[in-house]
């Protein structure tokens, strides 16, 4: 078995508060192969962004990795010194944030920001860096890149800015790009364009992608695999198609059912009662148990860990047997 | 009761308890405010009643019997035979009264104007904010000097003593309203576009009701912070004006007036006339400033 590009093992992220530490991400594990696109979905507060930030080492204090490990190409990166981690950021792991309007420093031109990034990581002269920057802008589909490169961010529209942000994230050819809801702030008609650019660029540069979003549709079209997060844990992870068409975890299937679609005519949407628990009162056992229609006693007491089912993993006691079966097979 | 228990359970109070500086500052402020409030009960003497003073007690050393009268004063006496301790308590009253009133005046004026400017927008906004600009052009002490000059001119001399304090309040308040207006206006501009305001408009609420019932309560956070810091500033401003001779009258000295009087005795060895009022002022202004500082950080959601 080859080492995965990224391997997250039992990641736990905590926030100390006056009422004791809050566990925002609790035992998240997954692997990501080179060139793969992993979608991460989940409701607001499920811990998607925190997971992303933890990987690139940008958790905002007081949040911190309480336990667990993160490996990049087999090399552990969650406990690196600040300076070493900095060398990885941008160079080996790039990141795209949600809001293109605020991701760029308004006081510097696009050229300034691109060249600065490029020269931080690559030994290039100012001239070469600029050339490369123009090339990057061209790649992400900015017309007349050589002219527009000297513009300031406010002179671009939202979609264009997000393209610039993608160019910046890819400037040093990282092996992994983490995109945290890159299209949420954009218009419907532009969203698809941006996702396309992102995917295309990453494929071209051979970068793996972690695409964080709450839009199943985007995942469906983009990702190879998807991880569904709930209350700081992964509820289900596996190939996109399978999960969408045949969700195993009751939460996932509820989630899928609650999305209105263009295709079917449904009178009522499937509705999961209640809401995701607050971090401060996550119920014992399976965090989904109070909302689950298939709940049984064990769910209320014991926390399920990811159980391999077919070629995915599901954190649900319903599939305990499957594991046994799988083991038996 | 519920409010109290809510407060005790609130994050704010928790953070407060966790900040030793804030707690200390609060205690100092509280002690000073309370002793000012109950000055007549605490002070051994009423320094504002000149008839009760004995000039021969003047310049008594702290804690030592006066060479003529044999009386003992804990913090000594000043050039008028006033017990420095009592004078500080009473002076604190004046300083706090002036400070609080000036800040409240500035706060009310500034908030109302800021609210109107922000909510109404357009020409009203322009006019109010232009006036604010002009006000800013005039540095605070000049404003105060001007107002003082004018008030002196228009009040009959015999009332000046009573008016002096109010003039101070007016002067300091007027030089301070702009920041309230700006902050409230800024907050109002944000709030008025929020949907809860739209919801209120929708049901036909009058602008006045919307401003007062909906928007105003939501601008109070930053206003409170500014008010605290302004309080410290107002107390210092009063002291500065005293130095320029337009502060509280010497027969009813504020802390600032006491310091102005005391600084004349800096070289002559009667350090206590300056030292104790100055320390009191320092303690007061410093702790109020620290509280304001802490409050600013605590109420800033982004700083959490």
């Amino acid at each position: 078995m080859t080492t995965p590009l990224l391997s997250v093992r039992d990641l736990v992220i905590k926030f100390p508060t006056r009422h004791g530490p809050l566990t925002a991400v609790d035992g998240v594990s997954f692997d990501l192969a080179a060139g793969e696109v992993l979608g991460v979905v989940g409701e607001s507060g499920a811990g998607k962004s925190l997971t992303g930030s933890a990987i690139i080492g940008l958790l905002d204090p007081p949040g911190h990795i309480a336990s667990g490990e993160i490996y990049l190409k087999g090399e552990r990166i969650d406990n690196l010194r600040a300076e070493d981690m900095r060398a990885i950021r941008g160079r080996r792991i790039g990141m795209v944030f949600q809001d293109p309007l605020t991701s760029l420093n308004p006081l510097y031109t696009i050229a300034d920001q691109l060249i600065e990034t490029i020269r931080t990581h690559l030994r290039l002269s100012e001239r070469e860096a600029r050339k490369r920057a123009i090339g990057l802008l061209d790649d992400v589909g900015i017309p007349a890149a050589s002219r527009r490169i000297d513009d300031y961010p406010h002179q671009f529209s939202g979609g264009m800015r997000q393209r610039v942000v993608i160019a910046l994230a890819l400037a040093a050819e990282p092996e992994l790009v983490i995109a945290d809801e890159p299209t949420t702030a954009l218009d419907v008609s532009v969203q698809a364009q941006i996702i396309d650019v992102l995917k295309e660029q990453c494929t071209q540069h051979g970068a793996s992608v972690i695409l964080i979003t709450h839009d199943m549709g985007v995942i469906a079209e983009t990702a190879d695999r998807v991880a569904v997060m709930y209350s700081g844990r992964i509820a289900e992870i596996g190939p996109v198609r399978e999960i969408i068409q045949n969700a195993k975890h009751p939460y996932t299937s509820g989630l899928m059912g609650s999305i209105p679609t263009l295709a079917q005519e449904e009178d009522r949407l499937v509705q999961i009662p209640g809401a995701m628990p607050r971090l401060s009162d996550i119920p014992p056992g399976c965090p989904f148990n109070p909302r689950c229609d298939k709940v049984f006693d064990k769910c209320r007491v014991h926390r399920p860990s990811l159980i391999p089912v077919e070629n995915r993993e599901v954190a649900c006691w319903l599939y305990e047997d499957a594991e046994a079966k799988g083991a038996a097979l | 009761m519920e409010a109290v228990s809510n407060f005790l359970a609130s994050d704010l109070f928790y953070r407060f308890r966790k900040s030793p500086v804030a707690v200390l500052a609060f205690i100092v402020t509280a002690v000073l405010v309370l002793s000012a409030l109950f000055a007549p009960l605490i002070a051994p003497q009423n320094p504002f009643d000149p008839g009760s003073l004995n000039l021969m007690n003047g310049f008594s050393l702290p804690g030592e019997p006066n060479q003529f009268t044999g009386e003992i004063f804990m913090f000594g006496t000043d050039d008028q035979g006033r017990d420095v301790f009592s004078t500080i308590l009473y002076g604190l009253r004046i300083s706090l009264f002036v400070g609080f009133s000036a800040v409240i005046f500035a706060m009310v004026l500034g908030s109302v104007l800021g609210l109107i400017a922000g909510y109404t927008g357009g020409r009203t906004d322009t006019i109010i904010m232009r006036i604010a600009d002009i006000q800013l052009t005039f540095p605070a002490i000049l404003v105060a000097l001007l107002i003082f000059g004018i008030a002196k001119g228009i009040t009959p001399p015999s009332y000046r003593d009573e008016v002096a304090i109010w003039v101070l309040i007016l002067a300091i308040g007027l030089s301070d309203w702009v920041q309230f207006a700006r902050v409230v206006r800024g907050a109002t501009l944000v709030e008025r576009n929020k949907e809860y305001v739209q919801a209120a408009k929708l049901i036909g609420r009058k602008p006045m009701a919307i401003m007062l019932k909906h928007i105003l309560p939501n601008t109070l956070g930053p206003v409170l912070v500014i008010a605290t810091i302004s309080l410290a500033l107002a107390i210092i401003a009063e002291a500065t004006l005293s130095f320029l001779g337009v502060g509280a009258p010497p027969t009813q000295p504020s802390l600032g007036t006491l310091i102005r009087i005391g600084q004349g005795f800096l070289f002559s060895g009667e350090y206590w006339i300056l030292l104790y009022p100055a320390l009191t002022l320092l303690a007061l202004a410093l702790s109020v400033n620290l509280l304001g500082d802490w409050l600013r950080d605590a109420l800033n959601p982004k700083l959490k």
Binding site: P106 | L142, I154, I236
Partner: protein, 327 residues
């Protein structure tokens, strides 16, 4: 931008007129200049004659219009106290105040920004907290007291620095400067600190809070995600963005430095316009007072104008309207 400048100029003129009006209406109340002009042996007839000469018997609006008319021609009148043209007196005194204000402002800005950045970067460090707390002492005592304490310590007790005046000055053209002599440089230290301390504290605290705010923005986070060095982020990205709001306040503060110079100049017998103004108040020297107020306003207005123009330099978004059209 041109429109902006024009608007500012009009506003400034309006401000100046207002200041003039306010100042003028105040003068009627500060006392009677005639009383000071004439000695104690004056007669009622003298008083009347001088009042007449000075135009004090004219109706208030007439006085104001006269004053404005003269001021426009650069004639600010003659000081009652010194019997010399006010413009000349002011020109003679202004260098002292400007040098003092300049050094104070420099002190305030350099230390304010420096310490502000420091305390923001080391947000929870002990030294930063210590600086934050002690800096408040600077704003918790009235300026005059700080000045006197400084004199007491550094002039009287230690004898290191002079207690008053500007020391030796050198004339360069019409400008007398204290920067070129040792005694001049020594003399400016205490007053400049006294005057700048308050502003320094303000600027420092402002820089800190703005910087903390900026450090929390998305673009700083994104800059981190791009792997930029801490240095580049703190000083290249965060500081520049911090400066935008800081400049406004600093501009206003420089204005109040000039105004607060009144007190510092009184304490240190610094021969600037502030001292002149205080003397003028005592002597009810109306022309000098009026000129001073106008001068202060002009300075304020000018500084604000410069500050606003600085914005255009620093923040491309402002000049944007003009250049971005067409994209």
């Amino acid at each position: 931008m041109l429109a902006y400048v024009i608007r500012r100029v009009f506003q400034s003129i309006f401000v100046l007129l207002m200041v003039g009006l306010v100042a003028f209406s105040m003068f009627r109340f500060v006392g009677d200049p005639v009383e000071n002009l004439l000695g104690q042996e004056r007669t009622q007839a003298d008083i009347e004659r001088v009042r007449d000469q000075l135009g004090l018997n004219d109706p208030f609006p007439v006085q104001y219009v006269k004053f404005l008319g003269n001021a426009l021609q650069g004639n600010l009148g003659v000081s009652y106290r010194q019997g010399r043209p006010v413009s000349e007196i002011i020109a003679e005194r202004a260098p002292a105040t400007l040098e003092l204000a300049g050094v104070s402002a420099l002190f305030a800005v350099v230390f304010g920004v420096g310490l502000g950045v420091f305390t923001a970067i080391r947000r929870d460090g002990f030294v930063a907290n210590f600086i934050m707390t002690t800096s408040l002492i600077g704003v918790s005592l009235p300026t005059f007291l700080i000045g006197i304490l400084l004199i007491y310590v550094f002039a009287v007790e230690l004898g290191w620095l002079p207690s008053f005046g500007r020391g030796e000055t050198v004339k360069i053209g019409g400008w007398s400067t204290g920067f070129l002599t040792e005694s001049g440089l020594k003399a400016i230290i205490l007053p400049a600190i006294t005057l700048g301390l308050y502003q320094m504290t303000l600027i420092m605290r402002l820089v800190r809070s703005e910087m903390l705010e900026v450090l929390r923005t998305d673009y700083i986070k994104f800059a981190r995600a791009r792997g930029l060095s801490t240095r580049a982020i703190n000083f290249g990205h965060a500081l520049k963005n911090t400066l935008v709001p800081v400049i406004t306040v600093t501009g206003l503060q420089i204005g109040s430095i000039i105004a607060f110079a009144i007190i510092t100049e009184t304490v240190f017998q610094w021969p600037g316009v502030g001292l002149l103004f205080i003397n003028a108040i005592q002597f009810v020297d109306i022309p000098v007072m009026a000129a001073y107020l106008m001068l202060i306003s002009v300075m304020f207005v000018l500084i604000n104008l410069i500050v606003d123009l600085l914005y255009f330099v620093i923040d491309p978004r402002l000049s944007a309207d003009a250049s971005s059209r067409g994209h």
